[in-house]
Amino acid sequence: MTTYTDQGKQDTRSGFGAGMTALGRTNLNVVTLCADLVGSLKIETFIAEHPERFFQVGIAEANMMGMAAGLTIGGKIPYATTFANFATGRVYDQIRQSIAYSHKNVKICASHAGITLGEDGATHQILEDIGLMKMLPGMTVINPCDFNQTKAATMAIAEHYGPVYLRFGRPKVANFTPVDQNFEIGKAVLLHPGTDVTLIATGHLVWPSLIAAENLENRGISCEVINIHTIKPLDEAAILASAKKTGCVVTAEEHNYLGGLGESVARTLAQHAPTPQEFVATKDTFGESGTPEQLMQKYGLDNTAIEGAVERVLKRK
């Protein structure tokens, strides 16, 4: 079993903040907008160092998305930041027309995604955002798994021309991918080779997938673990190669099973290599208040849920 070491738990939003700090110093065209959530997005350093390149829009996300679209005209690279709920569903038509259809070079950066923002409850959680954003033509959708990867993704998307949805979260989670990694948009990361089942995970579910793989290995089940940080464009070749090898797939994500990574994988498999698949995801439900750990357990988003899904899918091979 390939072993990964947690370098110390950190929140992925702090990875975003670290990425913005680095970008601010190296790319003078990068500007940032925020809708009254500067502390939550961890962009204080960027603002302190480049006050002229920061736009506080107040609690007005629709205006923020439009302004971001306008800022691209003249060569700026705007990072529009707020909670995932307010960065997607609240402003879907603004994103659709002014950013996606207009193919503007806007980076929509969304913290507190998923259920793990915890105690604030379902009004502030969102489990539908990946679906909303991946359906927009031309939109790139990225959901990195830890601090280091979020920092790398934050910097990499500045080099990519076009609209991007970058999704990250609030809880402190294991930080296990390499420092200063090369982040390649659209490229799956094979974390662990295996032969019996393929675990395809994104975001906060990648680390639990590694734990599940280790537990299953001890029970004689060999898991291949793939980190899909880019949900769109999806690395179909990597998924198909692994599915053909193992013959069954479990997808894992902190998102509704309608519209998420699992459905993208299922579509790929159905089209090219029909393969049994189980979905670790929320099942068409809203979240609720609770600690991140309690919520992940209650909604079936932890390593135990992944192990259960593997047992089920193996029987369908």
Binding site: V31, E52, R53, F55, V57, G58, A60, A62, N63, M64, M65, G66, M67, A68, A69, G70, L71, T72, I73, G74, G75, K76, P78, D93, Q94, R96, Q97, S98, Y101, S102, H103, K104
Partner: protein, 281 residues
């Protein structure tokens, strides 16, 4: 800069273009287009400082954003007659495979269009962003935008109006086409806007009015006055009263022609009221 007489001739020709475009495909929005013809002609052929190479990088020239995208016929006609794309292309308006979509879009790469619009209420935010980019770039050119009055019912406008004043976006001139009409009837019946100029004023904008937006000299004078009021710490708003369907007698004094095309007979009548000046496409 063109003389008023030359501009007047262009206005009549643009009206013909609008009428013929919507007639051909039996769809589109002639009413608001005709009401804003003088504004577009004055802006693109007299007031704006535009690069001659039609480079679309948005730097070193004035920019314009049409928020109420449904009046695309007037926008397309004026852009074509300014040289952004071949005038003959107006023939393709709303047809399959055309760059001239029903509502303007950058998607098909039509020169002159900088953002998609049509879903209402979004253009002012985009214009503000572009104005801020100009400030960051040290580019002292201006950003113009046009908004329907009914469109101001969309809440995003008021987020933008608040932002622009609070942040002194004083290189922006936003014009409201106050034609008093929207699809379901008069704006004051559908959802009263009240005193539009006063609303902008209390939000902190510098507001001026063009009493007759179909009087070319008034429009030119109003735009020039607005230009002089930029750079003074406040965004500038022009409340421009226009007549929907202006220049075609049976299309005026009604909202019936908001989104309806004339039939063959009506087209002939309308064109007879606007004799060819610069040559039809």
């Amino acid at each position: 800069m063109a003389t008023i007489t030359a501009l007047e001739e262009l206005v009549v020709q643009v009206r013909r273009d609008i009428l013929r475009m919507v007639h051909k495909v039996n769809s589109g929005h002639p009413g608001g287009s005709l009401g804003c013809t003088e504004f577009f002609v004055a802006l693109y052929h007299h007031v704006m400082d535009l690069k001659t190479d039609f480079e679309m990088d948005g730097v070193g020239e004035d920019l314009f954003f049409l928020s109420n995208g449904h009046i695309s016929p007037v926008f397309y006609s004026v852009l074509a007659r300014r040289g952004y794309f071949p005038i003959e292309e107006l023939n393709t308006f709303r047809l399959i495979d055309s760059r001239l979509q029903g509502h303007p879009t950058t998607h098909e790469g039509l020169p002159g269009i900088r953002v998609a619009s049509g879903s209402l209420g979004q253009g002012m935010s985009v214009a503000i962003g572009a104005a801020l980019a100009k400030k960051l770039n040290g580019d002292d050119h201006l950003v113009y935008s046009l908004h329907g009055d009914g469109e101001l019912q969309e809440g995003q406008n008021w987020e933008a109006i608040m932002y622009a004043a609070a942040n002194k976006v004083d290189n922006l001139i936003a014009t409201v086409d106050r034609n008093g009409q929207q699809i379901d009837g008069p704006t004051e019946t559908v959802l009263s806007l009240g005193d539009v100029g006063e609303k902008f004023r209390v939000f902190g904008w510098d507001v001026l009015e063009i009493a007759d937006g179909n009087d070319l000299e008034q429009v030119v004078a109003g735009l020039k006055a607005a230009k002089e009021r930029t750079g003074k710490g406040k965004p500038v708003c022009i409340v421009m009263t226009t007549m929907m369907g202006n220049g075609v007698d049976f299309m005026m004094h009604t909202h019936a022609w908001h989104g309806k095309a004339p039939n063959d007979e009506q087209l002939a009548t309308a064109l007879a009221q606007n004799p060819e000046t610069l040559g039809d496409y």
